[in-house]
């Protein structure tokens, strides 16, 4: 995307799992299906964990002399409180390492990729602006909120323009289904598919005795019945955007919004949980799953399957019952002009994503 726009991209990357930065980036471009690493991309082996970005003094200054704009897209997206120090380090401390570098470089524009959920716990409209919030659903939201404020203060002080991009929940490419990770939207679906495959093996054998212990039964034509109620909000839904929309929107905003601002890259049509349940049941030939409102959910005790599903998806529950509405007036003004819009997460796109997930065994090569 950036290369097509004529940028020279200096990609700061660190080694991981015994793979050198070059190997990692090469693997990424291979996965993207490009013909090797584009000539305009130069890999800079470094590490945001270090205040000097893991560079020698000479390299640090050389890099600083070559940078006009910086895109920060390195986050820890974990939600777990017990990983707080790790998440704070990645999302807050390491950002400061890069901001410090920006201040010492000729950088005039800092692009910070945040999240729509930096808005924190609230109902109703979330403005496309920096807001004061003290209540969050998880440490990820909290650290991104703090990072936004900190970046704004720092850039303001240093005279660097700042764009903050706030995507909602990103899934794979809506046209190909391609994705590297199968968390977020995928995870609850993956749990159901896992259970289905556990009791209904590929050669069609059914493990009735084991399934019965979970209240699961089998129907005709390979269908499997899972008596599962999923708690969902009366209104709203899950705000899902495909990665190809995000990259297009990001690129358009970056090119257009030159004064620095905050932009929500979100979907105008949050997807009700009941729709996703419907898609899941249709695609995977499952029956018995239904979305219920909280009062109905609590009116009867949970069965074993519900307890299991809720335990595994607990961390995602607030996003399944989300009543936040993301104002995207400013982003839309740019995207509409460029003819960029977020596709509705319909059954066709769901199918594309799930076909890809199944084809790559949900990211597990074994």
């Amino acid at each position: 995307m950036l290369s097509q726009q004529g940028y020279t991209v200096l990609l700061l990357a660190r080694p991981r799992d015994n793979a050198a930065p070059e190997e990692r980036i090469k693997a990424l471009f291979d996965w993207l299906g490009t013909d090797g690493i584009p000539s305009c991309v130069q890999i800079v082996p470094g590490d945001l964990n270090c205040s000097d970005l893991g560079l020698s003094s000479a390299d640090y200054h050389l890099l600083a002399s070559r940078v006009d704009e910086i895109i920060h897209c390195a986050s820890d997206t974990s939600f777990s409180e017990r990983k707080r120090s790790q998440i704070e380090k990645a999302n807050f401390e390491n950002l400061h390492h890069l901001l410090g570098f920006a201040a010492k470089s000729r950088c005039c524009f800092f692009h910070f990729i945040s999240t729509a959920y930096a808005a924190g716990k609230r109902r109703g409209v979330c403005p496309e602006a920096l807001v004061d919030t003290r209540s969050f659903f998880n440490v990820y939201e909290e650290t991104k909120h703090r990072a936004e404020k900190s970046a704004a203060e720092y850039c303001g002080r240093e005279g660097i323009r700042l764009n903050i991009y706030r995507p909602s929940i990103v899934y794979g490419n809506s046209r190909t289904g391609k994705t590297l990770r199968f968390n977020a939207m995928y995870y609850p679906v993956k749990i159901l598919v896992f259970l289905k495959n556990l009791y209904l093996t590929k050669n069609g054998e059914q493990s009735r005795e084991g399934a019965e212990k979970m209240g699961i039964s089998f129907g005709p034509g390979g269908t499997i019945h899972m008596p599962l109620r999923i708690e969902a909000a009366a209104s709203g839904g899950i705000n899902l955007i495909p990665v190809n929309f995000f990259t297009a929107a990001f690129s358009a905003i970056m090119e257009t919004a030159l004064d620095g601002d905050v932009f929500h890259i979100t979907n105008d049509k949050p997807k009700p949980v009941s729709d996703i349940i419907h898609y899941t049941q249709k695609f995977f030939t499952i029956t018995g799953i239904q979305a219920v409102q909280t009062k109905d959910f609590q009116s009867s005790s949970q069965n074993r399957l519900e307890m299991l599903f809720n335990r595994y998806t607990q961390v995602y529950r607030q996003y399944m019952q989300d009543e936040r509405i993301f104002d995207n007036t400013k982003a839309a003004a740019i995207l509409d002009r460029k003819g960029i819009s977020c596709p509705d997460f319909d059954y066709s796109i769901f199918s594309t994503c799930m076909q890809y997930a199944e084809a790559v065994n949900w990211g597990n090569p074994s």
């Binding site: 974990s78 939600f79 777990s80 409180e81 017990r82 199968f182 968390n183 995870y187 993956k190 749990i191 896992f194 259970l195 556990l198 009791y199 493990s207 084991g210 399934a211 212990k213 979970m214 074993r304 399957l305 307890m307 299991l308 335990r311 595994y312 607990q314 961390v315 995602y316 949900w362 990211g363 597990n364």
Partner: protein
């Protein structure tokens, strides 16, 4: 004849790797003992001795003697050794037995004659005491008593081996040796790992002295010195009792005298003198005394020094403990050792549970895995996916288990333990990682995976059965393993903790060099400092290492900690590493011992195993 041409390299290598843990000398899998060894219990007739013989012949340390011919010929190739040895070490000694037979056939086909070892006057005198069959100077027998995996002791072939059949014969041998000024040492079961039992003189092997008399009215058992932990535990269990014993193949009397009995049961049954009702010794001059004789040497006292043992124990009366019929085991998982220690200390001081032990990830995974590769994979699953880095293993009655369930978020109870054990090959192949990865929970993953609603799913995933487990071993052993694991006791934590037949698996991949230290359980800093120091020293010397176990003692005020180094005992370079590491370890522990109350290196308790625990825990 050149043995190197007759005994293939891989056979020689395997033969040299025998760990001498003596598990082939107890019938712990109901396979039956090696038939010739059952009749003639010299170490040399057991698979351990046969492996030593193969090694010695290959290295041309001894000639082919009359005894060597008899040892090799007597092997029936029944295969018991393969099953027994594979269970704990993963080795297959049958190939060695076959190679020995092939070697002997070639030797005899060439018309060569076995060397005849002449009797000397000393041997004749020993035979006069014990009978012709039970004293020998044949090198094929002697070499089986010449070494162990202790890396800092060289091979020392004794002059004579003698197997007394009674306490009286044993006393006469000691008196004879004293009078003749010949050094004599006693070996329990021929199993030793500390290099203490070698002599150029007489080795007294007590393997014929195996009488056990249970005295339920006095909650005690009277035993001869050849009785092993396994044999005594079995006898006690049949009558509804339990004894606190150590490694199954170790002799009980030898253990008491050497280090004192300790195990995870020491949490309630104590250590040292706690186990002893009375003991009879013969000192080096042949004087017999009992521990309870007020005029006898005080074996209950303790001095922080390396001392000689008070003598050879010829009989011991030790305590038996009652058992209730509702005992079961459970494992309480933890992510951090500090939390595990804190919990173990807490239940110990609240008198909850009987056996209590903190096991590191290596111990847990190795204990339950029938092969080393499965153990390695299991450890990965436990630590990386389930976030279980250690467990507190508890045996308790229903009240104890109920209390523990109220104290912690989740446990691995006896049925879940059975499920994990029998489904282990499926566990390491399962999609569990994929499912757990997305959890993002604020609690460790094991709490979710071990939740009540998940257990039926786990059962489906693991398909636990003896057949599932047996699929992990060599194909020709699968029927045996399947039948073995059909027996309920093989997955019963109470039985496994009493009989400890899986503990020798710790040395499956390499010989384990264990350091044992009595420690205070709080503050945690002392344990942490010890563990860090052991780890750093091992790293400095390039030695594989890991925490072994910690068991609370005396209501959690003290504990015993084992830290293990792992070495290839057949590799001189590894021995040298241990030698150099020891030079760092001893001052480190001694220094800590001086600055922290309750830290005592077990090396100072060697030969003072009868001491009152208060004398070394609180001195």
């Amino acid at each position: 004849m050149n043995p190197l041409e007759q005994i293939p390299e891989d056979i020689r290598r395997t033969a040299a790797r025998c760990r001498h843990y003596a598990m082939c000398k107890i019938d712990y899998l109901d396979t039956g003992l090696c038939p010739p060894a059952k009749k003639t219990p010299y170490v040399s007739y057991f698979p351990q001795g046969r492996m030593d013989l193969c090694d010695a012949l290959a290295k041309e340390l001894i000639p082919v003697t009359g005894a060597a011919v008899d040892i090799i010929s007597s092997c029936t190739l029944c295969g018991s050794c393969d099953r027994q040895c594979h269970f704990v070490t993963g080795m297959r000694p049958m190939k060695i037995m076959q190679a020995l037979k092939a070697f002997l056939d070639a030797f005899q086909e060439k018309g060569e004659k076995a060397a005849v070892i002449p009797e000397d006057e000393l041997l004749k005198a020993l035979k006069n005491i014990v009978g012709h069959k039970w004293a020998t100077n044949d090198p094929a027998h002697l070499l089986a008593y010449a070494n162990d995996p202790f890396p800092l002791a060289d091979r020392q072939i004794p002059g004579y081996v003698v197997l007394p059949g009674s306490a009286q014969e044993l006393v006469e041998i000691v008196r004879f040796a004293d009078k003749a000024h010949i050094p004599a040492v006693v070996r329990g079961n021929g199993g030793s790992v500390f290099g203490f039992v070698f002599t150029p003189g007489i080795v007294i092997d007590v393997n014929r002295m195996k009488k056990i008399h249970l005295d339920p009215d006095n909650w005690s058992a009277v035993i001869e010195p050849g009785v092993t932990s396994f044999e005594l535990q079995k006898a006690a269990a049949e009558k509804g009792y339990r004894v606190n014993t150590a490694e199954p193949a170790a002799t009980v009397c030898g253990n008491i005298v050497c280090t004192g009995l300790f195990s995870t049961w020491a949490n309630v049954y104590g250590v040292g003198a706690d186990h002893i009702v009375d003991m009879t010794f013969v000192d080096r001059h042949g004087t017999v005394f009992t521990a309870n004789d007020k005029n006898a040497p005080n074996v209950f006292g303790f001095e922080e020094a390396v001392l000689e043992s008070p003598g050879i124990c010829t009989e011991a009366r030790i305590r038996m403990h009652p058992v209730t019929d509702d005992e079961e085991g459970l494992l309480v998982p933890f992510t951090t050792l500090a939390d595990a220690v804190s919990f173990a200390r807490d239940i110990s001081r609240r008198r909850i549970g009987l056996s209590v032990g903190i096991l590191g990830g290596h111990y847990l995974s190795t204990f339950i895995s029938p092969t080393q590769s499965l153990a390695n994979q299991t450890r990965d699953v436990f630590s990386s996916i389930l976030e279980i880095n250690c467990v507190v293993s508890v045996i308790g009655d229903r009240y104890a288990r109920s209390s523990i369930r109220q104290m912690v978020p989740c446990v691995i109870d006896s049925s879940t333990f059975r499920m994990f054990t029998l489904g282990l090959p499926q566990l390491v192949r399962s999609d569990l990682a994929d499912i757990v990865e997305g959890l993002e929970s604020d609690r460790p993953a094991y709490e979710t995976v071990l939740s009540a609603e998940m257990l039926p799913v786990l059962e489906e995933m693991l398909a636990p059965s003896s057949g599932t487990l047996a699929a992990a071993v060599d194909e020709d052993l699968r029927d045996f393993y399947e039948a073995l694991y059909n027996r309920p006791h093989m997955t019963d934590m109470v039985w496994l903790t009493m009989f400890r037949i899986v503990s020798a698996r710790m040395s499956r991949h390499k010989h384990m060099f264990a350091f044992l230290i009595y420690v205070p359980l709080e503050p945690m800093d002392v344990i942490q400092e010890l563990i860090t120091s052991f780890a750093e020293i091992a790293e400095d010397h390039g030695i594989e290492h890991d925490l072994g176990f910690i068991t609370p003692l005396d209501l959690g005020k003290r504990g015993i900690l084992e830290y293990d180094y792992y070495i290839d005992h057949t590799d001189n370079a590894e021995s040298e590493k241990i030698r150099q590491a020891m030079a760092d370890i001893e001052p480190m522990v001694d220094k800590l011992s001086r600055s922290c109350k309750g830290v005592t290196f077990l090396k100072y308790i060697f030969s003072q195993g009868c001491a009152r625990k208060e004398n070394f825990l609180y001195a």
